[in-house]
Amino acid sequence: MNIKFNNVYVQEVSTVAGPFVIEGPLKDKFDKKFIDFYDGEKTFEMCEMKELQEAIQILLDKTKMQQEDIDFAISADLMNQSTISNFAYSKLEIPYLGVYNACASMCESILLASSIIENKSAKNAICSTSSHNMTAERQFRNPVEYGAPKPKTTTFTVTGATGIMLTSNKTDIKVTSATVGKVIDMGVMNVFDMGSVMTPSAGYTLNEHLKQTNTNVSDYDLILTGDLGIYGKQIFKEYCYKEYGIKLEDNYDDSATRIYDFNSEDIYAGGSGPSCLPLVVYSDIIPRMRNKELKKVLLIATGALMSPTTCNQKLSIPSVSHAICLEVI
């Protein structure tokens, strides 16, 4: 399903980045940096809540708005019961919706918020995401101090939180359309290879978006997928060509390959997590759109809907991807 928007604009964005990300190629572009996985808090979870609260506060400071001025917020993270978002928003006076589509949550939340703003039910909304390498490792894999060897296709969850303020008041950057993806399960069971899990749903969403908006790959200055990783990116290119006849050229990239410094760190196939795509977009892509360097950008957030329980029960991993198109006006 494709939705077109006429009255939704990007007012401001905020980024908070943690260890490893702050040594990557985007290190000078974040609003705030956390140098360790605790940042003075007692647990990793509390650290992630603090990150998310900081990202929201920075967004409010940048827009010079008070909490009461915000109509509502949609937030996502990786923890069971959306714990991080729930706790972070328990300290705020903003009406709140929690969503979960794993790493596709960024586009999911922007899509939902844009629909409500387009409907004139709200004037503005915050969409926030957070992820933390250690809390994700603990929930989905092994204890954080346990050092089992991992295959090269493993992605390394980014530590960071992001926020975006959407508004019905006209700004330079417009949210023009969004495509809701389908849950696709191609039978991949390898929990260390999320790129292969998510590629088919990303391909479906890309094809659907191009078809329904009557556009071609060349109409976009940049097509950015979420967190397929360095190997997933190659699979995605070939999959799109074989399955849909879509040829991806230089204007395609994957945000997982842009977030870390591959030369100096042992981070396997790249970044992942709900904050991976927004950290790249809000710190790098949005400023470049403001400079008119990029005019039309398609974001495809890719989510592996993995559960350790079903993986142990030998069920394969489904995935979903949603797309958002941003344009400079």
């Binding site: 007692k42 092994n142 204890p143 954080v144 101090e145 050092g147 060897p149 296709t153 290879d193 074989k242």
Partner: protein
């Protein structure tokens, strides 16, 4: 695209793990752990004037202690991920798995946290170790007279 066709596509781009290299590293590191163990046994026998079986027990306690300490100090996971089976198959791996689980659940309390979860990773080793000991013990008793 069919699932099988897709599987072929993903395999085409998946990096190959260097099994020979991993095996050699595991062999060398595992061997090194063995040498350290033997050196400790010799040391305890000569210095403490104790029997070999007592010295072996002491050596195991030492290796377990060091693995736990290094895990708690936060660098042993990097060693294990590089050394692979060379470190996680010997007793150091069992100690590492147990300590890392204990550290993980420390904040959730002594009973519901550490107590309930300390054997999360190493519980299988204990369970199937005990079962295997019974099975082989019975076989030995029945067929070889104990």
């Amino acid at each position: 695209m069919e699932k099988k066709e897709y599987q072929k596509l993903t395999e085409k781009y998946s990096p190959k793990e260097n099994k020979l290299k991993n095996a050699i590293i595991a062999f060398l590191i595992g061997g090194l752990v063995g040498i350290i163990g033997q050196a400790l046994v010799d040391l305890y026998m000569n210095v403490g004037q104790i029997s070999q079986s007592e010295a072996t027990s002491l050596m195991m306690v030492t290796l377990i202690f060091l693995s736990c300490l290094f895990t708690a100090l936060g660098f042993f996971d990097n060693w294990v991920s590089k050394a692979g089976a060379g470190l996680f198959i010997p007793i150091s791996g069992f100690a590492h798995a147990t300590t890392s689980s204990a550290l993980e659940y420390k904040r959730e309390g002594l009973v519901m946290g550490i107590g309930s979860n300390i054997f999360k990773l190493s519980g299988s080793v204990i369970l199937y170790g005990v079962i295997a000991a019974y099975v082989f013990g019975i076989i030995r008793f029945v067929f070889f007279g104990g």
